[in-house]
């Protein structure tokens, strides 16, 4: 079930109302039933996988609490990653193996993998494994109540596209049940409206332009691709953060607080900072469960760089089973390694040129350069096929066509003039809101402190704005949230 679907608009109020009506003992059980129903809305068969992951990690964690055994831990991890590998990576692995064998002249035929990738499998698998490792590390007690644990793995707002919650945060909250709170509802509604604004008004509108340009990259070279890449940066950000914020809002109304997955990432002044602000739940997962166990930054500069590269390559693969994702991850790793390696030189140059590190112009330059680097890596995230990426990159370099910004050409790529300007305006609104967030100002709280008439206008007007200016319904097939494929 998608958040931007009629099913969810019907499902969610029923789920919430029933939750608040039911007696305390039944509340969590109801949420569990609702969560499984939510997942089955996509494909009823695959709910078995969710249940299996839950059973394995639940049983494994109980066993780990009794006997802290590495073998048990690895078995649980291996089973879960095995499932993930089969559904997500087997086709990619075997097709590459087949190519290798063919190159080496070894007869090998790749088995046929006609498998549908289960929605959100990477999210719930990582969440369940994170919990198991936490139990192994004795950072938390194993959850004895199976239903509560099953709800932790399957809690519907964050089930299919995160945030990848930590047991320390969510499981503890599930110990309690919640009654209706008007303030929480206001806060949650505001989050949901903002999330839909990001998804429907910005992401899906940007997608029209981006899809048109990338679908015919032979026709649209040069600065078309650059513009499409900038729009794609906003598309993927708004798509994913929009989902996360709707998830936060949906959970907030129920009384639960999910972690904030994004913190004004495009105001970052380095790739390192970007990854502290982008998809925080995944970045911190990799940091806690991969980077630090690998040694983190404790074993010298070379090992730190290797660890970083490993983390980012794995992160690339987590996002998708294709070489372009590996390149994307690798590039991010390389940029971060390069950032560390050149830190002293850059500092020296700054001192020689008398550039103030905290000066506005320098911060602006760093922000712009960071965005340019991030956006360059997004190119590989968006493009299909490595060979294709090289070809399209060539057209960016050779096809210099700045006139597209002055004639009407940009309005021929799926968005007419008014929609194009609306997109730019909406992106400006987002950046203004993110600037507030970057400076530690919570606009949501500011709105909720205003007089009633202003709040009413924001709520009703905001929702209406999304309905009118969002891309939905009619002949338009609402795009799946991009992050579902992970």
């Amino acid at each position: 079930m998608l958040f931007n679907s009629w099913q969810y608009l019907i499902f969610y109020p029923i789920a919430v109302l029933t939750y608040f009506i039911l007696p305390k003992k039944l509340k969590n059980l109801w949420l569990l039933v609702a969560s499984y129903y939510f997942y089955m809305g996509w494909n009823p068969k695959y709910v078995v996988l969710l249940f299996f992951t839950t059973i394995v990690t639940y049983g494994g964690s109980l066993a780990l609490e009794r006997h802290r055994s590495r073998r048990v831990l690895f078995t649980v991890i291996a089973i879960n990653f095995g499932i993930l590998f089969y559904f997500k990576y087997a086709r990619f692995a075997f097709s590459n193996l087949a190519w290798l064998c063919q190159t080496a002249g070894i007869p090998f035929e790749s088995p046929d993998f006609d498998i549908l990738l289960p929605v959100g499998i990477s999210f719930f698998t990582f969440q369940a494994i994170g919990y198991t490792i936490d139990v192994y590390r004795k950072e938390i007690y194993a959850e004895k109540n199976f239903f509560r644990y099953a709800l932790f793995v399957s809690f519907f707002p964050q089930l299919v596209a995160g945030p990848i919650e930590r047991s320390k945060n969510l499981l503890k909250q599930l110990d309690k049940t919640y009654s209706f709170s008007y303030d929480r509802m206001r806060e949650g509604m505001l989050l949901i409206i903002w999330g839909f604004f990001l998804k429907l008004v910005i992401a899906d509108r940007a997608a029209i332009f981006v899809d048109a340009v990338f679908a015919d990259s032979g026709k649209y070279g040069g600065l078309y691709i650059v513009t499409a890449c900038v729009f794609f940066a906003f598309q993927i950000y708004c798509d994913f953060s929009g989902y996360s914020i709707i998830a936060m809002g949906s959970a907030r109304i129920l009384g639960l607080e999910l972690m904030d997955n994004f913190n004004a990432p495009y105001y970052s002044k380095s790739i390192r900072e970007f990854w502290q602000r982008w998809h925080i739940s995944l970045s911190s997962w990799f940091k806690d469960y991969l980077y630090i166990p690998l040694g983190g930054s404790r074993k010298g500069a070379v090992r730190t760089s290797i660890n970083l590269m490993i983390v980012f390559l794995v992160s690339g693969l987590w996002h998708g089973a294709a070489w372009t994702y590996l390149v994307w991850g690798g590039l991010n790793g390389l940029l971060q390694v390069a950032g560390k390696a050149t830190r002293n030189i850059r500092g020296h140059i700054r001192r020689v040129l008398c550039i103030r590190e905290e000066g506005f112009s320098h911060r602006l330059l760093r922000g712009a350069v960071t965005f340019a680097m991030v956006d360059f890596t997004w190119f590989f995230f968006r493009i299909k096929g490595l060979r294709n990426s090289v070809r399209v990159l060539k057209t960016v370099i050779t096809g210099f066509n700045p006139w597209i910004f002055t004639d009407e050409s940009l309005f021929q790529c799926g968005l007419d003039r008014k929609n194009f300007y609306l997109l730019i305006l909406s992106m400006a609104v987002l950046m203004a809101a993110d600037y507030g967030k970057y400076r530690g100002i919570c606009i949501r709280e500011k709105i909720l402190k205003q007089d009633f008439w202003f709040r009413w206008l924001v709520f009703a007007g905001g929702a209406l704005f999304v309905v009118i200016f969002g891309i939905w319904g009619g002949s338009y097939d609402a795009k799946s949230f991009i992050y579902f494929q992970f």
Partner: protein
């Protein structure tokens, strides 16, 4: 009850009120935006029907052939028949069934009198979803509309029952007409000004027949049952056009259907009603105002024969005639938009207008112009044919070299012309 408790209840009350106000604001905004953004075709068409307090003895159903072919105001003026043209572009028998069901429900709800006769044009079939929008977007959501959406629109049900889901993206097309839509005030008829190019007309032999589509037959059956259940007489017609022989063959098969079901059916394709395919059509399928008047006249005779009441002496007659006078003014104002001689000559051949036409003999070489001038001569107009080498002398003193010059008066007012226009031969006698 303690003071605190009282305050607590009051706080909850405030919260509830606040919540309801937000919902109310949102719902109000949605309602306003829905009306603003929706395609206005249907609203323009049916708004008059929704808000009138008149009773209609006859309802016309069908496609654009009926919209351009039947004028209720002419029908009232000439026969005293109170009618409404409910047809819509691209809507055929299936949609007509639901439109009839819906309108009868509206009539019942408003305690208006049931119609005595329903006239259905059985032309074509297979409505497309955009055409259904043109018909249905103006109707409020109802069980009948839902039923129609379920049965006719496949996977587009949602956009039919909640038009905003389709039209919200129309914000970038909003124009003055969306804020102040020009409602059709002529009881559903639309005048289509044009004269089709004369050419090969496709008219099939009345003996050639083709089986009626099963679904279409089913829906005509349903319309018949619906009419029978309300004591309404159903009349089937087939308005002329000159293309698509398949539909014409099917229309010929309706003779048998009508006989089996004891229905009155007139296929005007096979009747001599004086329609000239060279000058009475806007295109191959749609009658222009001249053709419409002939078709309306024939239907008037038919309905008179069915003893539909003549209401010219009734209490609403004055209102009807006032609207008819407005209709004349509308037609006069439409003349000013016409750029081509043939269309202009067709339009001034109007029972409410008197025209003085001066025309060079050479202009009569054009077959359409010749026929149209002949028509004007047959009416109560003044036609002066000017020989070559002589100049036209426009009555209003306008200077210039014209091939055709028309001075048009509203009948009963010869003091000042309602419109005058000169045409030259270049570009098919375009306006000068």
């Amino acid at each position: 009850m303690s003071r605190n408790k009282v305050w607590e209840i009051s706080k909850k009350g405030k919260q509830l009120l606040s919540f309801l106000c937000v919902i109310g604001l949102f719902a109000g905004g949605m309602r306003y935006c829905s009306r603003l953004l929706v395609n206005k075709t249907s609203m323009k068409k049916y708004e008059q029907f929704f808000h009138t307090d008149k009773n209609f003895d006859v309802l016309f159903l069908g496609s654009s052939h009926v919209i351009n072919g039947v004028s209720p105001l002419d029908l009232f003026r000439d026969y005293g028949i109170a009618s409404f043209n409910l047809s819509q572009h691209g809507n055929y028998v299936r949609s007509a069934y639901y439109i009839l069901e819906q309108t009868l429900e509206i009539i019942e709800t408003k305690n208006r009198d049931m119609p005595k006769v329903v006239v259905l044009d059985i032309y074509a079939g297979g409505e497309k979803v955009p055409s259904l929008h043109n018909a249905w977007d103006g109707f409020p959501l109802s069980e009948i509309k839902r039923d129609m959406a379920r049965n006719l629109t496949g996977d587009k049900q949602m956009e039919m029952t909640l038009p905003l889901s389709l039209y919200h993206s129309r914000w970038n097309e909003l124009a003055a007409g969306d804020f102040n839509p020009a409602i059709n005030r002529w009881y559903g008829v639309e005048l289509r000004y044009g004269v089709s190019f004369p050419g090969a007309q496709i008219i099939t032999d009345p003996e050639e027949k083709k089986d009626i589509e099963e679904e279409k037959r089913l829906y005509v059956d349903r319309i018949k049952e619906l009419c029978t259940s309300r004591g309404i007489r159903l009349v089937l017609i087939h308005i002329p056009y000159s293309y698509n022989p398949e539909w014409q063959r099917e229309a010929n098969a309706f003779y048998d259907y009508a006989e089996e079901n004891q229905l009155c059916y007139i296929n005007y394709m096979n009747e001599d009603i004086g329609i000239d395919f060279d000058i009475d059509f806007f295109d191959q399928g749609h009658l222009n105002p001249a053709g419409m008047r002939k078709m309306t006249h024939e239907l008037g005779k038919l309905l008179q024969g069915l003893e539909v009441e003549d209401r010219r002496g009734g209490d609403q007659a004055e209102q009807w005639m006032k609207e008819y006078r407005d209709f004349i003014q509308y037609r006069i104002s439409s003349l000013k938009e016409i750029k081509q001689a043939a269309i202009y000559l067709m339009s001034i051949n109007d029972p409410d207008l008197f025209s003085v036409v001066q025309i060079k003999r050479s202009a009569l070489e054009n077959v359409q112009i010749r026929k149209l001038i002949q028509r004007l001569e047959e009416g109560e107009n003044q036609v002066e044919i000017v020989e070559e080498g002589q100049e036209l002398r426009p009555l209003d003193g306008k200077e210039g070299e014209f091939d055709i010059y028309c001075t048009v008066y509203e009948k009963g007012n010869r003091d000042s012309p309602a419109d005058s226009r000169g045409f030259v031969r270049q570009e098919s006698y375009a306006v000068k």
